[in-house]
């Protein structure tokens, strides 16, 4: 994902007819770009299957701590 190289996708003639954003497109490895969903899923139904219903490990404990409790804001 982070192998970012600046390189133009379109030829100069086309770029002149496009917003400047197309001139600065990020060039990424397709494998690592999660939004291609080639090898990435951010949600899976099996997490909620009846034999493990909402029983997946939690990333963080359930609590009421917010950022302001940890750091002066």
């Amino acid at each position: 994902m982070n192998a970012l190289i600046q390189e133009e996708l379109f030829p100069e003639e086309t770029l002149q007819r496009l917003p400047l954003s197309y001139r600065y497109m990020a060039r990424l490895h397709s494998e690592g770009f999660q939004e291609n969903f080639s090898h990435h899923r951010f949600s899976r139904s099996w997490m909620h299957a009846s034999n493990a219903y909402i029983g997946t490990g939690t990333y963080k404990p359930l609590h009421d701590i917010v950022l302001q409790d940890l750091f002066a804001d």
């Binding site: 917003p19 060039r27 939004e35």
Partner: protein, 321 residues
């Protein structure tokens, strides 16, 4: 019955909600643009009666609530056989489906929608004005077509400039092992110098110095806020920094800011959306944008908000009303 308008392909925000609907044993139907054209279900839309018939059965009355989840974002492909006419044909077919969708919105206009039909594709510039009117700070924003005005804006922007597309059309261009994507990028003197005198009108904004980003999932008046910070921010667009370096913490919004967000959503006639803010080192919050169909799972899971369950509960409640 709950009508879910979504993708045929994987859509990360839909499945977790569907799981909760299954658990609650609530009737729902999940429909995609592909369903409308693929020859696998028999249906007709009776314009005279303003009704939809599935296998000969009227469904209009049974639909009590509608969840719009990026339905128009995935259009069926007309295929390569169309040859040189493919682009034109694809545009025409997409328009045909969009008009069909608009008619479905019309005949179901009296139902509660999440979010309301016609409110899913906002004009980013218009939204900034609504944010201002709601009392929110917004970054200095210009659409510029020439180097002279851009240079002047750059000189008056001590924190630098960024550029991004006006519209949310950020689909990746995939070429085998390489993917190109138009993300938010910094515009500096090095980039301005080779620019031609005039160029395509492009959106520029002052770069907001951020202590951290605040992302809010808004659902019918409730705000679920997350502070997001990249430990090694290499890029101005968080999506490029990699999830390993991105940290999420639940965040308590100041009451005044919550009020401003609610006012903004009221003005936009939105009952849901993902709102992006920057928190400056001086404590001020700067509004960036709102996406009515934004992704919410990362913040939900990291902060244990169970937003998928809250969306499902909203749908279930309105289905029962």
């Amino acid at each position: 019955m709950i009508l879910i308008l979504t993708y045929d392909a994987y859509e990360q925000g839909t499945d977790p909600v569907v799981d909760w609907l299954l658990e609650a044993n609530v009737p729902f139907v999940r429909v995609t643009a592909t369903d409308l054209v693929r020859r696998r279900i028999r249906y007709q839309i009776d314009v005279d009666r303003q009704d939809v018939y599935l296998d000969g059965q009227s469904v209009k009355e049974s639909v009590r609530v509608v969840w719009y989840r990026r339905f128009l974002g995935e259009m069926p492909d007309v295929g390569r056989a169309a040859g040189p006419h493919r682009a034109q044909l694809q545009a025409e077919v997409s328009t045909e489906i969009r008009h069909l969708f608009e008619y479905l919105c019309f005949i179901l206009k009296d139902r509660p929608w999440l979010p309301a039909p016609g409110k899913t594709q906002l004009n980013k510039l218009e939204v900034l004005n609504h944010a201002q009117a709601s009392g929110l700070n917004v970054p200095v924003t210009r659409v510029i077509n020439n180097r002279r005005d851009l240079e002047e804006l750059y000189r008056r922007s001590p924190n630098g400039l960024i550029t991004k597309l006006i519209a949310d059309v950020r689909k990746p261009y995939v070429q085998a092992e390489t993917t190109y994507v138009a993300v938010t990028q910094v515009v500096d003197a090095e980039r301005i110098e080779p620019m031609s005198e005039y160029f395509f009108p492009t959106l520029f904004q002052e770069k907001v110095p951020a202590q951290y980003e605040v992302r809010i999932f808004y659902l019918d008046g409730d705000c679920y806020a997350t502070a997001i910070r990249s430990s090694e921010p290499e890029h101005v667009d968080r999506k490029l920094n990699g999830s390993q370096k991105t940290h999420y913490l639940p965040y308590r919004l100041p009451d005044a800011l919550t009020g401003q967000i609610r006012e903004l959503m009221r003005r936009l006639d939105l009952n849901t959306g993902c709102i992006d803010l920057m928190r400056r080192p001086d404590g001020a919050y700067v509004f960036l944008e709102v996406n009515p169909v934004g992704q919410y799972l990362a913040e939900s899971e990291h902060c244990r908000y169970q937003l998928d369950r809250k969306i499902a509960n909203w749908l279930i409640t309105h289905n029962a009303a």
